[in-house]
């Protein structure tokens, strides 16, 4: 008995010593095979149990099983340790300088003018306006006469309009001709509630004017439409586009195609309304022109001013974009310097993301 257990002790010491010096998986495997394999020392010893008397066999069997159990656990533990060491060595060789820059995804972006235009379109679409379009090269009748700008009116001067080499055609000076086109398409049906974005041209080029720019025109016609409706609609629209805190005011103005005509001012964005250079110390900046549709214009669109009335408004997309994005120079928008345009990725629909 005694001799047997002391044998076990020697076996264990020897096994443990060998295991401790095993540095890799093959060494572990070989040790496992040497003791626990088919012909392993312990396996052989367990096979020999059969030759022992029954009483000894049970006791000796328990001892060998315990020894086997210890060896299996020790081998597993050591194998896990070696796995970890091996992986650590491997990963150590794969080390990267993670401070290097990442590879950016390739992205594109809509132009700020498109984004500003869509923003106002989306607000007005929600308010029930439908989009209408007209040609950029327009007949003089649609661009002038139909809008109560007869021949001889200063707005028709050569210095204001671009003419082309096709007779009676002009680069449209405003999106207002679409008012007439939309009315004609409605053929007298009510209500008319349309929105007309588009490119327009004026023969001006300086720090605050560009010969080509974009406008959005709005037109509402129905029974009993008045200046009160104009004020309510435009105030709602401007608050949706520029934010709830924007204050508005209306001033009398003049356009040949509206009567009465009014201009709408909003709180100056630069100073918040206290007065600065941008707003000439008034606290207000002009945002749009509008008015009640002139009876002549209604008639040219096929509507009777003694039965229906309407209002129209027009605003510049560039000016809106400048306001939304905080720009101070109109010309940058058409320069298309990609470095300039890339700044706009930080802005979500006019609000900084």
């Amino acid at each position: 008995m005694q001799s047997k257990t002391s044998t076990d002790g020697r076996w264990w010491d020897w096994f443990e010593e060998t295991l401790r010096t095993a540095r890799d998986l093959p060494a572990i495997q070989s040790l496992r095979y040497q003791w626990l394999g088919k012909r392993g020392q312990l396996t052989v010893a367990m096979k020999e149990l059969a030759q022992l008397p029954a009483e000894q066999r049970r006791l000796r069997g328990q001892q060998l099983n315990q020894l086997r159990q210890r060896m299996v656990e020790a081998l597993d533990i050591r194998q896990r340790e070696i796995d970890i060491e091996t992986e650590a060595a491997l990963l150590n060789g794969e080390r990267l300088d993670m401070t290097m820059p990442g590879r950016p995804p390739r992205v594109g972006l809509l132009h700020p003018l498109t984004r500003a235009r869509r923003r106002i379109e989306d607000v007005l679409l929600r308010m029930g306006f439908s989009l209408h379009y007209g040609p950029q090269v327009e007949s003089e009748w649609y661009n002038f006469e139909a809008l109560n700008i007869p021949a001889g009116h200063p707005a028709r001067d050569m210095q204001d309009s671009f003419f082309v080499d096709v007779p009676n055609m002009v680069l449209r000076t405003h999106t207002s001709p679409v008012q007439i086109r939309a009315m004609q398409q409605h053929q007298g049906r009510l209500p008319v509630k349309v929105l007309a974005p588009g490119v327009v041209y004026r023969r001006d080029d300086d720090a605050t004017h560009t010969p080509m720019f974009q406008q959005v025109e709005g037109l509402v016609i129905d029974h009993g439409i008045g200046l009160a409706d104009l004020k309510g609609t435009l105030t709602t629209m401007v608050r949706e586009v520029l934010g709830e805190r924007v204050e508005t005011r209306f001033r009398s103005s003049y356009f040949p195609f509206t009567e009465p005509s009014v201009e709408m001012d909003v709180t100056c964005a630069a100073c918040g309304g206290v007065g600065c250079r941008t707003c000439k110390a008034t606290g207000w900046v002009e945002i749009l022109g509008s008015g009640m549709v002139h009876p002549v214009v209604l008639a040219n669109g096929g509507y009777d001013a003694s039965v229906v009335s309407g209002f129209a408004f027009g605003l510049g997309i560039e000016r809106l974009a400048m306001r939304l994005f905080g720009l101070d120079d109109l010309r940058l928008l058409y320069q298309n310097d990609l470095q300039f345009l890339q700044q706009f990725i930080r802005w979500e629909g006019g609000r900084q993301a």
Binding site: G108, V137, M158, V164, L171, T235, R251, Y254, P260, S261
Partner: protein, 782 residues
Amino acid sequence: MKLSHRWLSRYVPDLPSPERVAVVLQQLGIEVAAMEPWGERLRAIELVEVVRRDPHPRADRLYLVSVRRGSGEVLSVVTGASNGFPGDRLWYGPAGTVLADGHVLGVRDFRGVTSPGMLLSPEEAGFSAEPGDLWVWRQADAVGSTLLDVLRGPDWVYDLELTPNLAIYYQSVRNIAHDAAAVAGWTMNDDREPFPFGQSTGLLRVESRADCPLYGLVALDLVPGAVTPLWMQALLRATGQRPIHPAVDVTNFVLWDCGQPLHAFDRDRVVLPIAVRRALPGESLTLLDGTVAALTSADLVIADGHGPIALAGVMGGAESAIRPDTTRILLESAHFSAPVVFRTLRARQLPTDAALHFGKGTDAVMAAAAPARVLAVMAADGLLAGVGDSAILGEVPRQRVIPFEPETIRTLLGVAWSDERVSLALERLGFGVARDLVTIPSWRHDVEGSADLAEEVARYYGLDTILPRLPRMAASPGKREPEQEFLERLRDLWAQAGYWEVATRTFSSEERERTLNRPTGRQPLQLANPLRNEESRLRTDLLTSLLEVFQFNRSRRDRPIAMFEVASVFAREGERVVESVELAVVESLDPVEQFPHGPRPSIYDLKGALEWVAAQLGWELSLSVPAQIPAFLHPGRSLAIAFTHDPQGGGGWLGELRPRTAQGFQGRRVAVLTMRADRPASPRPRGVMAHPSRFPEIVRDLSLVVPEPVTFDEVQTRIGRTGSADLRQTRLIDRFEGDFGVSLTVRLTFQSDAETLTDQAVEEEVAHILSELAGVGVVLRQ
């Protein structure tokens, strides 16, 4: 227009502060662009009395003049003036005084004598006065008074921006005062009594009553040596005008005071009678500005016995003009037809103050009343020596009358105001309201109907009194047209694909479009009046615009560029203008120097983006390599694009720019796409999303030797021709060249919805595919 607060106060004696007046002007719809004090400069100029005058010890032509100031201090000032003797009172500008020409006085040394500041002439102070070097003051003001005290303190000047409708009647201090007083409830002095013209026959005749409904002449004499009164000089100066001669200054004053242009002729230089008529063929006139106008029958002229002496309502002639010593005046006050004057103004580019008033329409009542104002002003300031003959021909036109429709006015404003409230506003603004008719004031040529009256009512009560509301009408959702919806989606997709949208101008020129030299087949639309040569036409080609943006960016920095635009191009077809929407994309293909490395740019990036966008849109495109590639493109790296619904329509091109062309835009390797942005004939495919198959995929890679000139497209077509239902995908995964030529490795993915495919079934399909490929000489690489 400049408006003086003090001038306005001649009509409204209890005029409130300049700030309050600005608010009232705003309510009238007058934009006050600026508001500035005038006259502060004059605060430094002080009235002094001469106590001694001595010759300068070392200069023959200079004098030492000792003057007593208001403080009692006596100081000595050097002057070269010939006047300024003991007892005279003079205007003295101490050091620091700013003269009319902007010069700032200092302390100067005149040959060893120090002189602080200067004794001033009228011109140096900014005024005209009786002749003499120094300005000798003859009024009773006390020594020590300043020039500003004499003018009753500083004035305030508004810079008004008048819209064209307001300019018809607000180029008149009287009319502004009238409406401002109405709106603000001020009391106003107003006098529009006609001048009692005489019946002097032989003084004038009017040949064209339609051109000139009213024409009056008054002969008057000025006191010799008379000087324009200082208060008037100050008002004229404050509003940006230069005093010239009492007769001219008074007519200018009345012009702005009540909006009635007047003209003063030198009576000794005209031969009566005066005729108002159209110019005769061959007549000409030397105008006040020295230019010679060749007259036509479109011009209305004032003529005397010798011929034209003035262009009616626009500019006087040089011959009959007032000279410095003129005292015998023939004063014209007329009402000319606005279109006649406007035509001459426009045709001759003569926007004189008179023409800008007459051309917009003036108040006929004022034509009859203005001479009375001239004489009153002249008499009050001692300028008038006498009044001679006078006559007037014609009549003040009857005031116009339109229907009074308060309900229409209420509707247009969106208010529920009573008839009385509506008519009160109109009456206060000078309209007459009697039952169902409104009489329009003689100065309001702009008013035609109820819409105009509604504006008056809104101005009177202020726009703030109209409460905002939202229109009550049948509600329906707003819509975008499908065409526009499509273009917006096209933009979104290119942005999603990694391209930057740009916004270019539609102007171009023959020279600019020649750089790319892309044959578009479009006849350009030329501008009749371009701002500059390089913007002399509307573009026929969008790609050039983008390549110019490319060049602009390249000239600033060498960075990858990928951009697109969806915009219009133009052409003329006979007398018709054709506008069509195009898509253009430009992408640089230069290797990007960066670490960690990215994929190498290739023309296949742009092709892949187009294929992806087309798939999203349901665009059915056929991309082919045609025999003829246009010169601007790389002959070996380009594709023709056609819409399958319109194969002959010339869809567009995708490819690399020919390097020589690219150089013209500072590019090396540049991928471009230019095509029509047609909406697909059929909308995007819709349907039920298929369930994924439960059965495993089987993948086979075939390395194929592909002989020249077989293309990948042919390989793919042949594979597709087998009609295998289980072949889910054919993907090119590699290409290389060896002794055998070109090898393409194609990965075929098989999968069935009904069963697990067996190897044998797949092998049969592969064999079928290989036999199809063998038809064009494509074989498996051994």
